[in-house]
Symmetry: C2
Amino acid sequence: MKKTVHSNRYAGKLFEQIYDYILDRINRGEWKPHEKLPSIRSLAMEFNVHRLTVYKAYQLLKENRIVEAKDKSGYYVIPNGDSFPADSLHDPIISAYVHESHLSEIHQVQAEYVLSKSLLDPNLLPNLYFSEYVKQVFDLYPKMLGTYFTVQGDQELRDALCRYFTDCHRFHLSADELLITCGSQEAMDLVARALVKPRDVVMLERPTYSTAIDIFRRQGAVIVPVEIHPYGYDLEQVEKLMQAYKPRLFYLNPTFQSPTGYIVPAEQRKRLVELAERYQCLLIEDDPYRDIYFGEEPPRPLFAYDTAGWVIYLRSFSKYIAPGLGIAIVACRPSIMNYLIKAKMLSDSGTPLVNQKIFLHYFFSERLQQHMEKLRIALTVRKDIVEQELSATDWQWNSPAGGFNLWVKLPETVEIEPLLSTCIKQSITFVPGAICDPLKEYKSWIRLSYSYLNEQLLREGIQRLVELADRGLKG
Amino acid sequence: MKKTVHSNRYAGKLFEQIYDYILDRINRGEWKPHEKLPSIRSLAMEFNVHRLTVYKAYQLLKENRIVEAKDKSGYYVIPNGDSFPADSLHDPIISAYVHESHLSEIHQVQAEYVLSKSLLDPNLLPNLYFSEYVKQVFDLYPKMLGTYFTVQGDQELRDALCRYFTDCHRFHLSADELLITCGSQEAMDLVARALVKPRDVVMLERPTYSTAIDIFRRQGAVIVPVEIHPYGYDLEQVEKLMQAYKPRLFYLNPTFQSPTGYIVPAEQRKRLVELAERYQCLLIEDDPYRDIYFGEEPPRPLFAYDTAGWVIYLRSFSKYIAPGLGIAIVACRPSIMNYLIKAKMLSDSGTPLVNQKIFLHYFFSERLQQHMEKLRIALTVRKDIVEQELSATDWQWNSPAGGFNLWVKLPETVEIEPLLSTCIKQSITFVPGAICDPLKEYKSWIRLSYSYLNEQLLREGIQRLVELADRGLKG
């Protein structure tokens, strides 16, 4: 997707807008390989700009090997298999505005040793109990399936979650400040749609959850990365960036961060909220792993420190409670909630009631607490297995205190992309670090998820991975 | 939302982009009322354009009473309560990019006589039977809630629907050409996101389903309206428009159209598909009311006539089968499906499995067929009630052969907006025609839905509505 990347990097200035315009039409297959492109004069007229501006755009397209100039006769599209699916040449024109999700491409690979999925092993869920349980829910709400749901979410569920958040995290929250979404993806997407416009600046951690990169890019955001370290952020750098770029928002995952597993310490959380307020930069706090801790409970969410309404809190539950339900929440202040509700109204008109009611009754059941205990132990064991297997290598990582992932640095002599291809052939998948980086660097890093495979497959998978990496080294 | 409307109308040319840029910042509350705006010189530099271009943008903003010029000293924001919610002045900045959904505003009104909701009366659903039924589904799939779902949708459901569509409508369809979405809204939104880019031309029926206007506007589409008549479209006009505007797509609802209830005849359907192919304009066929016919079954969908892949078929089921489930489908050719799947992947990563499995087993049960029969009869009776009550008036409408709505023309002496305000005070809601018109005309028309109220409330509601309209006339 070389071209798409360019179209992201060069967003803003006028000649860049024209660059994007031309690029889009090529990516869509409206202007085909070898086809002659509009003249500088005609585009200058169409856009009502100086011809030099169009010239500048064409020069950049030339540099990027997207078009070629044939002396005197004009500019032509250079064929490039990547730029659009071959079939779109024969099929109806389609938009290339949907950005590729590289992670999802890896997820589509059918593999035995899935080290790429930051998802819970379904066998760790109390499925049978759960099904029996659901039947009781249907007795409680016999008309549930025939009931229309509200956009914001079931009142009973929002009330219950409100009490829950206030009790565990001392949130100051009312049910009106909670939105129920169909999973964390939708929550993130709604925030992006409601708050981010093309060319808005968005701060992202680096590395970060790669889908976040895709979602904010899809909104046309200009992305400013912020390093995350085992000790959190360099807050001076964060402040400098907020000063310099006036970002609309900073999407962060401060608790058992994906992919690193790092935790932003409590004192930094307080400070971040102050910075957000001073520089009017919303903080989007994504918190899916909070309950997956191996030792002590993590520090309170940033949202708990927020009084002026600069933090938007995303909490997914479906990662460990019935993925088949797909339930997540957004907590934020009314002025922003109004826009999220409008966005959701046009997106799916509400989360189905049945999922909300089932979730409500399960989440607040005693059974869940027992389930969570078992889950933490099971995941600790699986994490330990990976660390045991890696201990013999010279690979580097910080042992995570929670979450589903290990962020591992391989020797720089190992090339990750070729390794991934070899692994896939051997039915092993992992996530290359570059995918988690807005700058596409971290060439020696990979994300290993220990949440999805059972202990035996996990051990075998890691052993084979290490073996293939070593073999790669020896050539 | 005067300003937002302008920002839609003037999208495209360079000075219009700068106009939009300034307007957005004002709408977001970043540039506040009475605040001095950036100088022409500074904006010209920022955008790297000629100063005259910025001047032109400011002139237009002046004409539209969005800014005022104070001699020599520059341009200032004219206060306008509409342009952004007052609280956003004090609360964190929010984007005004989410377009208002006027329909949803009416739906938020709590009323006894709901004539505005084109939704089924929940009491017409076999709720009790349904929840008993669901329990069996959980016995069939005990691990359902712990199972991850795919983005495209459950294979078993897609296979079954494939057979169904092939049998009833003679579709040429494979399971790979079906996408399961969380309701019709999501289906429409995914199509818009995947296929429509800012400034793309989209054809809409006039009048149309007002949410469609909101959804395509949100994508920044330029909207070209096409009249729909009791006999269908003026195909010559459709062809002229396709020739003139090269629309990316035409969103249409040819069967018991909302709001009119009109049916596009079979011969026009065939011809429309030919035109779509000739002018490379995708047809988005929305078909939620197909099964709600009062007399004979409606003509086959356009999709059945499509061989080259220019029709995208949207079919919602939740309107009459368990609204609490929220299930709809998109049928289209693989090249487009790839983009829809990518769009959905980032939007909600898939429709929850539990909803799909429940739907699957209910939809293909004998019970549903009996249910549909009863439903058609019940709705015919309710439609007749409305028509009886209106027969005494000089209001005009075409009696619909299916669907949930009556499209009614009141005497031009009646002003609809004041009538709606009066009605809301009297706990009656209806949909003003202007909302269903991209051009915001149809000032004397209203949409009355007979699907949501029971017979008694329906009769009373219509009687009161007519009474209030008459009283309004007498002043």
